[in-house]
Symmetry: C2
Amino acid sequence: MSLKVVIIGAVALGPKAACRLKRLRPEAEVAMIDQNALISYGGCGIPYFISGDVSEARQLQETSFHMVRDAEFFRLAKDVKVLTRTKALAVDRQIKKVRVRNLDIGEEADLPYDKLLLATGSRPNRLNVPGADLDGVFTVTGLEEAVRIKERIASGQVARAVVVGGGAIGLEMVEALSDLWGIETTLVEIQDQVLPGVIGPNLARMVRNTLAENGGAEVYLSEKVLKFEGRGRVERVITDRRTLETDLVVLAAGVRPNADLARAAGLEVSPGGAVVVNSRFQTSDPDIYAGGDCIENMHLITGRRVYFPSGSLANRQGRIIGTNLAGAVEEFDGVVGSFILKCFDLAVGAVGLSLPRAGAEGFEAFSAYVVQGDRAHFYPDMDLMHLELVVERPTGRVLGLQGLSNKGDALAARIDAVAAILKYRPTIRDISHIELAYAPPFSAAMDILNALGNTAENILTGQNRPIDVDEFAAIFNRRDQDGFVCLDVRGSANAEPFVQKYPDVWINIPQERLRERIDEVPADKELILVCNSGVRSYEAQITLDEKGIKNTRNLQGGAAAIKKWGLDLLEEED
Amino acid sequence: MSLKVVIIGAVALGPKAACRLKRLRPEAEVAMIDQNALISYGGCGIPYFISGDVSEARQLQETSFHMVRDAEFFRLAKDVKVLTRTKALAVDRQIKKVRVRNLDIGEEADLPYDKLLLATGSRPNRLNVPGADLDGVFTVTGLEEAVRIKERIASGQVARAVVVGGGAIGLEMVEALSDLWGIETTLVEIQDQVLPGVIGPNLARMVRNTLAENGGAEVYLSEKVLKFEGRGRVERVITDRRTLETDLVVLAAGVRPNADLARAAGLEVSPGGAVVVNSRFQTSDPDIYAGGDCIENMHLITGRRVYFPSGSLANRQGRIIGTNLAGAVEEFDGVVGSFILKCFDLAVGAVGLSLPRAGAEGFEAFSAYVVQGDRAHFYPDMDLMHLELVVERPTGRVLGLQGLSNKGDALAARIDAVAAILKYRPTIRDISHIELAYAPPFSAAMDILNALGNTAENILTGQNRPIDVDEFAAIFNRRDQDGFVCLDVRGSANAEPFVQKYPDVWINIPQERLRERIDEVPADKELILVCNSGVRSYEAQITLDEKGIKNTRNLQGGAAAIKKWGLDLLEEED
């Protein structure tokens, strides 16, 4: 008798597992059910569908060669039976049957299984505030809801929008709404930075600055939505600080695992609400598997379970589950949290832990931050890339990497290289020595990633004593009270405007003249050393150390970081 | 008494070691000599200087912020003494002095050292044929020679050029000469493919095809240069097959280590002519270090010494040597051979061993080849990327990765991720599971690299029985003799022209109809299964296996590979 497998959920992980299983055991009888009509779509593409980059919802359902992955496709091409608009009501583990209901005709039936896969995914966090169920308050986790958002925009009903939540989906939606459609978009985030938990405050500030500059989007941080108001349709968002008039609200306040069926069937569920699985994705019932957005994963840096919903992860796990359903053994080790995001012309990448998160996880950590060209400095389309490496002190263990770049693929190259090795517990030395592919159109001879490893080592040994731009901005704003001086070691053409504007706290001695002009350095003051990117100021710090002037800090990223951060020291006074 | 260090060679590794040493030990006295006037330049930028992408030679010498790294710069900014136009004549290890001569005034002197660094680099292989010393026969290893080439081109003296050598520099020079300057350029390579030793024949054929299409460059393979002819200046290149009229010859026939000084000083030199060093870059005399292009490195895949000249490697090794010169201990493990090249709009990447090289190194190896989008299939600027994974049989150990893409940074992301883990001896499973950063603008949910690992696994287990396009082309050309049939499993719109043109050997049954039309399959013939990319043909192979039809091979990369390879099956007959 052939193996009977039922799969609940047909978006990403379910179809992948079904197809892998069928390739290994073509005789298996596979039934896949989904309560929606649209299945097997690229859910991560929803912001690009809404923006118009992807014109038809159907495209998110297609294969690379334009076949639509609907029930008929799965029947013919994959020999997998798909029941759409079919809801799984309950799992009876004793008799190994799933009770299902057809949502169109109301008919119920039992699907028998030998093995069952829960691919029930996630559901969006809806705010528990008045008006959250008003018309016009949308989430973007399903394709059918996305179609409704786009219809509303395309019909000209949306001039203003509010996005609630500054995570990845929130930022993608800000771009989707404001860039192509020209909708006046406001982002409200409850925490004090965008992308909390993904990047540190320094880079987050730079992302926010980019949003404001490129997109013209208003960003309100540390601000809590209290209610939504409107007659029938949403018209206002009331936060704890202001009222925002709006025609549309996108709730992008994260998602949580959908473990209802598992819980009802008596399977083990974690305190975070996720289905608990082993390394083969078996639940507490070994004939029932679960994976993707309804489970948690081992985080390979912290050694703790983490919730990391991701379409890519769902696909990779789906294949592994398919292998296990077929009777072979394949294990999954865990995740390192690789992340990349396009937001207007900026790409934001991350892997492992950000500095705040490393602290929250109990690591004694510091970070090194480098701004450098993504190509050889002489190559025409060179852009500055920003990378931050998070390191455990004193072991030198690498905990994470985050970065920004206008060239997303070039950023991905650095993120992916570190993502690939994180499971091997690399140290700074592994970053300093990493052998990336080199040619002038793609990297500098000393790649920014190697330079970042070197900088982290210099910080760890105390050779480089940095200050980041976040702290610099705070100090600079208190410059009347604090007794510091900025020693600008660039050429005078760069430095002069600052010296003119801030004569009390800004002096200029080019790095290459520092040895001969050492007597001009105010050795009694705390010195903040500034250059274009943090390299020459580091050289200056060493020279000053040698001369016995040790009360210095080197501004990481230099003027390039100041600019990206949005601290305009030369702007006209109001 | 302060540490005295002499560094011979001031292009890449020498300056890096000098600066690192000075940062760790500011009191050290460092003298760096070079026989050329121009120092500390990005030698890898020479093709881009010649092409005009970089307009001034000076730019290759600048820092990121436009300071020229000349002797004066090193004196002031780095406290390093530089002697240009100064040749090291001999090293006296007994009295620890280097005999040097000033090439302008002829004066000789002795430079005493406590530690000596040989950063003598490489020299180009000049062909040992008549006329190789004619005017107009250039190499491109030094900036001064590059200036002369560019002057000659810019003055309108070059309508035709011949590049000898189809390695990285040769291909970069083909682009440099033909793309911007419009010079009619011919490439002559003695081996039977471009980039021998770097990529396998299948990808090499695709690169060659690109050269011919994009650049219009003639490429002659398996062809040996016998002599150069001309009156005073080169006018003709005579090969064993033809005569090429030319105004300029670029010899790009590789480089070899320059170990003359080391050999004369009695230091150990390898059979390959490289200075022998330990993991700290100490030569057989522990007070003398060497690194960069004058040494060989441990290859982390083969465990054997390999010559891998690279400006990036020189920089990384320079820093490590600086650390060791300063008295600390830092070791270098070896290289994995990361490589990337821009050639017209195509990028070629590689790391580890190509399939032919794996065979030559004694590995029983096979390769998997996948063509897939570099972004989500629905994302607007998606391009097809080509990747080949070289794997040891039966261990599944990953030996190398090579690839092609029009988006070089996107290719670098995959190459770099594998480059980063190669030292940990990954297997196919590590590639299948690798967690690259995912968002639709940067990758597919199942990234091409994951898909490549999956494909390799399917080949290793015998689930996928492939044929590559190189072999397919050979078989197809013998189709009168061989008894095979191409079973095209695409939709009929794609397949019909082939069926029309090759009715005896080409039939069409779309994959999704294969189960119901199984009786139409000519089960007695060898079947070559064809689709657009190799995915549906793999599905078809499994379906046929299930039906007992097992004499099948799946064309890896499908029609996409056929096209890139340049096999135009539908072209008009002559």
